[in-house]
């Protein structure tokens, strides 16, 4: 029963959903947030993510997530700049980011509401 439900959930995942990224889903989300205000290359992303979320993404994790995002059309390279390669978000990437952020907002709202109820 549980397996059937999980398969059904996986099959109904919207296009570009970050859940299919497994352990790379959180780094992928952070990357999308990082480039939401404009293209960035790898080094700029790691610096931005470190200052924004206090998370130090290792190079293996960063490029593992970048490869997945690029393979699924959520980001695209805009051509090499010296030896660096900036990436920008595609329309599909923007849609995936909005979807994930709204889910997180709903979860955060529910969490806050329940905490408030338990202290009331």
């Amino acid at each position: 029963m549980r397996i059937t439900r999980r398969v059904a959930k996986r099959d109904s995942l919207p296009e570009g959903d970050l859940d299919e990224f497994g352990r790379f889903s959180e780094p992928a989300l952070l990357i999308l947030i990082s480039i939401a205000d404009g293209p960035k290359h790898g080094y700029a992303m790691t610096e931005d993510i470190a200052s924004m979320a206090d998370i130090a993404l290792g190079p293996g994790t960063l490029y593992g997530a970048l490869a997945r995002l690029e393979a699924r059309g959520l980001i695209e390279s805009i051509g090499a700049e010296d030896r660096r390669n900036p990436y920008r978000m595609t329309a599909l990437g923007e849609k995936a980011l909005r979807l994930r952020l709204s889910t997180l907002e709903a979860v955060a709202r529910a969490g806050r509401k329940r905490l408030a109820a338990s202290h009331a």
């Binding site: 790898g42 593992g64 393979a71």
Partner: protein, 170 residues
């Protein structure tokens, strides 16, 4: 970029290195290589090999398997030139002569012993392992080839020594 960084990047698949290798090298050049970074890169390389994100699967030519088998039987692995085959032959003949002479010299100096006898028997197989550096191991990096061929030769000598030592006790 340090030698360790480039060795770590070489663990990734070729297609991946061609796409992201330069960028990653650039990123690694900006930071100190810590144990955490090394572990992250190793995990990333394993992931890249298990879950390749790049390129569609290559269409398999029906003659590819037969060609590969023919090459193996002809002792002609891909990428091995005639010059490599001559080098390989030189390793086999030269190595066999050097190891045989060493074993005979040892026997002459210290008398009959299991090590020199084992070395005598393993002269050719150990040289064959050394010669694989320029044939069967050609597709690997130079340091990897060196380590694998020398380790193989040492292993053969140790096994033969062990076998002779056991034979002496029976």
């Amino acid at each position: 970029m340090t030698g360790i960084s480039s060795a770590l990047i070489r663990m990734y698949p070729r297609a991946w290195r061609q796409r992201y290798g330069v960028e990653m090298a650039e990123l690694l050049a900006t930071r100190q290589l810590s144990m955490r970074t090394v572990a992250d890169l190793i995990a990333g390389a394993i992931d890249a090999r298990l879950n390749p994100q790049l390129g569609a699967p290559k269409a398999v030519d029906v003659t590819e398997g037969a060609q590969k088998m023919t090459n193996v039987f002809r002792c002609n692995p891909a990428g091995v030139s005639v010059q490599d085959q001559w080098r390989s032959a030189a390793w086999m003949i030269g190595g066999s002569i050097v190891l045989t002479l060493t074993a005979l010299g040892l026997q002459w100096q210290v008398g009959q012993n299991s090590f020199s006898e084992g070395l005598l028997y393993s002269a050719f197989p150990a040289s064959l392992m050394l010669s694989s550096e320029c044939t069967y191991l050609k597709r690997y990096s130079r340091p990897a080839r060196t380590v694998m061929s020398i380790s193989g030769a040492v292993l053969v000598i140790l096994m033969m020594w062990g076998a002779v030592a056991v034979g002496y006790r029976i």
